[in-house]
Every structure is written in structure tokens, then in C-alpha cells.
Subunit: 155 residues, 2 copies
Amino acid sequence: MSTTRPKPGAHYQALLQLLRTSETVWNASRRFFARWDISSSQFNVLNVLRDHREGITQVELSRLLIMHRSNVTGLIDRLEQRGFVCRKENTADRRAYRVVVTAAGRKLLAEVLPAYYQAAEAVWSGFGARATTAFVAELARLEKNVGDFSETLDP
Amino acid sequence: MSTTRPKPGAHYQALLQLLRTSETVWNASRRFFARWDISSSQFNVLNVLRDHREGITQVELSRLLIMHRSNVTGLIDRLEQRGFVCRKENTADRRAYRVVVTAAGRKLLAEVLPAYYQAAEAVWSGFGARATTAFVAELARLEKNVGDFSETLDP
DNA sequence: ACCATATAGTTGACATATCAACAATCGATT
DNA sequence: AATCGATTGTTGATATGTCAACTATATGGT
């Protein structure tokens, strides 16, 4: 043996496949939402807000969507400009807003969601109930592995 | 029945899990490469170029990495500034460059790759050879479904 | 040789994402 | 009540990504 470099094995190939599949899913997601001229992120904002009639703060949004709070600013700016959400003053804490979906936002969601559920069916066509459940369990296990590994990294 | 809205079923939940796992994988990937102050994309560029000593064009890179060619410009700009790649003139076609990895780029890869293979093992820990193979096959099937669905969309 | 068409790379406008630094505000401790 | 530390949201710098429009070059048909 003249080299100590680990060989790219099955697990490396599997990781590549995972990344490739993720990429494909993301791109399809972008094309899907383009029909309503929104981004995946904008949809996610609306979808989260749907369950909070009283509104939530931008920091809460950033936690639910797992993104930096500075990113939420621009996202809400653009959604507000188009009338899908609204920043309401928060009397309890004057630093924060309560972000709420407007009627227009709800109307948009009502159009998108049925198509989204249909898309999910298309994506998993050929996967029976049992296969889907098993696959999801493995995805969850994988996610935990990745999370654990991520925590072993320095910063 | 007072509503025709499809209910969020197992396949919808499965799609959410897939997106969540993808997100986690991407974030871990970013943190991992931060150790060498490079992005996942920059690594992917170097990793692809590794197999092409004679160099490839930016358009070829954009196809291999599934990104727009205009994105490759900036990516190569930054990698070139840091001395990891180099644009060589292409005598055969004066419109195109031949992008090659430099010695510094190969040195970087030699540091990153072993850690990357190790990371892959950590990510798939608990997945035996058979389970991994089966999982990859399902990922591939899923990817095909998503691709097919994507093609049914307008643009 | 000429011209139409296609392709390679760049640029500018924009959306999404990160981070650091900042102002305003909150809360708790003194 | 005054102050210190933490939190909320914004801003500016930067990276990644898209697309449309542009220049320069290739290529193929007449």
C-alpha cells in the first residue's frame, strides 16, 4: 500500500446521492412556486404564519424557519410590499412586531396548498404507505447523525 | 363534505421530512467546509476539476455542478484570487477558458478529502452496507419522481 | 466569403442567505 | 431609579444563486 488516503466508498457515494436528490428537490420546489411568483422561503413564511392568527415576531419566525433574523427582515419587507403579510405593533414589547398573514396572503395559501399536497403525492408515487414510513424513519435517523456530526465541528 | 381541500397526509409529511433533512445536510456541509474557509460550491468546483488535469470550460463546469453559467464566473473569480484554480487560454476555442486546479488547490483538496470521507462515514453510521444501498436506490427513485414532476410544470 | 445562428463568458439587477455592528428596548439586579 | 446585560430588528458587506442582455467567437449553409 503506497497511499493512506481513504477510498471513496459506499457511504461517500451515498452522501453524494443525498446531496444530488436534495438539490433536485430544491430546484423542483423553486419551479413549483414560480407559478405564483413566490419563493420557497416566502411560502414557508406564509405557511408558518397561517397557524398564528395573533402573529409572531420575526425572531420567532427565524427560529421556526431556521434562518438568521437578518434574513427575515428582507423576506417580510417583500411579502409586506405585495400585501401578503403585515407588521403590527406589539404593545407588550415595543422592540418586536407581530407579523400576521393578510386576507390576500390567506387567499394565496388557499390556491397553493392543494397543489402542494398534490405535488407531494406525485413525488412519492410508487412509494406505498409502508415504504414511505420506513423511508421517513431513515431520513430522520440520517438527520440525527448529521446533526450530531455537525456538533463535533469547532465554531 | 364541506371542503375539497386535500388533507396533509403521509406523503406531505414525508416531503417535509425530506426538505428538513436536506436543509440539515446543507448546513452541516457549510459548517464542515468553514474549517478551510471555503464554501460547498467552491469545494465542488475543485473536486470536479481534480479529474480534469487538462481543464474544462466554465460551461462544462456549470453543467456538472447543475448551476447557471453566470454563477460560475464569480465562483472561479474568487477561487482564482485565492490561487486555487487558474484560467488558461483555450487555443482551440478562443471564447472559452480551460479552468484547472493549481498546486495550491490540490494541496487543499488533499487536506479536505480525507476528512470528507470520514464525515460520510459519520453521517451513515448505523447504516449497514445493505441498508445504505437500499436507501440510495430509493433516493434515486425519488429523484426521478421529482424530476418527472418538475417537467410537468409550465416554464 | 458571407451571414445566420449558436455558444462562452461577463455583467447588472435581483432574491436569498450569512455575519457583524448598531439603536432601541426590555428586564433584572442593585 | 439607574445601570448592565440580553434581545429585537435593521443595516451594510459579502457569497451564492437566478435571469436577461451583451460581446466575442464558432460553425454551418448558401
